[in-house]
């Protein structure tokens, strides 16, 4: 599998994603500078976390006009797998590959901690190695993760099984205390209707090795690899 990790000015999780794909997953991965205009031979695009363009104007608002974005939109429209993590999720919302928008966290603070999320949909190219209701221990690190969509969009998300991850307590209950940023309906990650584009605020690349305290995140990368291998056979 050929992975392309996009580096924007201000990305800071690009090398982590590259490391996971290259050194843990043992796949071919390369960093793609945002000024490039072609993805070439890529099977998975990762938009990494960080602070692209210093979060100026709105998170992800300026990165969405980077030269590489046109080829990512094209790639996604043909079913190509696109994973946006944290700032990558914010960019996917701004560019319209996923519906909704991000607001400031309800308590305004930048939150950097491990949280529990549960898998709502295990039937996507990104989550087939999980089971529904599986609870993951995974870090978040953001100030704008308070997902918002209007009520029509929210119903559509539910109807099409597009809500992939939700914040929950350690035993899987959806409580206000376990929703770290005030996100609508506890949403931590959503996919598009064709399920080839996933955006999530938690960082699977930061929970992909035992030394980091959790290996729950590696299952997401394993899922993508599994999807790729099936499509090749």
């Amino acid at each position: 599998m050929n992975v392309g990790v996009i580096s924007f000015p201000g990305s800071n999780c690009d090398r982590d994603c590259h490391f996971v794909c290259n050194d843990i997953l043992k796949q071919s991965s390369r960093l793609i500078w945002h000024q490039e205009t072609s993805l070439k031979n890529i099977d998975l695009v990762i938009l990494p976390g960080g602070f692209s363009y210093g979060d100026y104007l709105r998170t992800g608002a300026i990165a969405r006009f980077s030269p590489i974005m046109d080829s990512i939109i094209e790639f996604a429209s043909h079913g190509g797998l696109v994973l946006g993590i944290c700032n990558g999720f914010q960019i996917l919302l701004e560019v319209g590959l996923l519906p909704g928008a991000m607001l400031r966290n309800t308590h305004l603070s930048f939150i950097c901690e491990n949280v529990s999320i549960k898998v709502e949909n295990a039937d996507t190219p990104f989550t087939n190695q999980f089971s529904v209701d599986q609870i993951l221990n995974i870090p978040i690190a953001h100030a704008e993760g308070n997902y918002y969509a209007d009520s029509t969009t929210l119903s559509t998300l539910h109807e099409h099984g597009q809500i992939v991850f939700r914040y929950c307590s350690g035993n899987g209950t959806l409580t206000n205390e376990s929703n770290p940023n005030g996100s609508l309906d506890h949403i931590a990650g959503i996919c598009n209707q064709t399920r080839n584009v996933l955006g999530m605020m938690p960082h699977p690349e930061r929970s992909a090795e035992a030394v980091l305290g959790s290996t729950d995140g590696i299952l997401l990368f394993n899922s993508v690899l599994n999807t790729f291998e099936k499509s090749e056979s």
């Binding site: 104007l57 709105r58 608002a61 300026i62 006009f65 919302l93 701004e94 519906p99 909704g100 928008a101 607001l103 400031r104 966290n105 309800t106 308590h107 305004l108 308070n146 918002y148 969509a149 209007d150 005030g182």
Partner: protein
């Protein structure tokens, strides 16, 4: 021409920054406040002297970049520079 552009969160969308400012103002003794909403102010100097064309340009830049229609509204004022 110069455009003064105001971008604000739509009505009904929770504004945690506005809320925090409201609380802080109350602490300072400004108690007769119903609500505080925080927005953005953008000033753009455009190389255009025709009012209509300048207006079309400003609308276009707001729709494309300066405001996110999912959560924000915008309004603007145009001045000859």
């Amino acid at each position: 021409m110069k455009a003064k552009i105001y971008v604000t969160l739509k009505r009904g969308i929770h504004d945690p920054q506005g809320h925090a400012i409201h609380q802080s103002l109350a602490t300072l003794g400004f108690e007769a406040i119903n609500e505080v909403r925080l927005g953005k102010f953008v000033e753009v100097d455009i190389e255009e002297h025709d009012q209509e064309k300048a207006e079309a340009t400003v609308k276009n830049m707001c729709d494309k970049l300066l405001a996110n229609p999912v959560i924000e509204n915008y309004r603007y004022e145009l001045f000859s520079s």
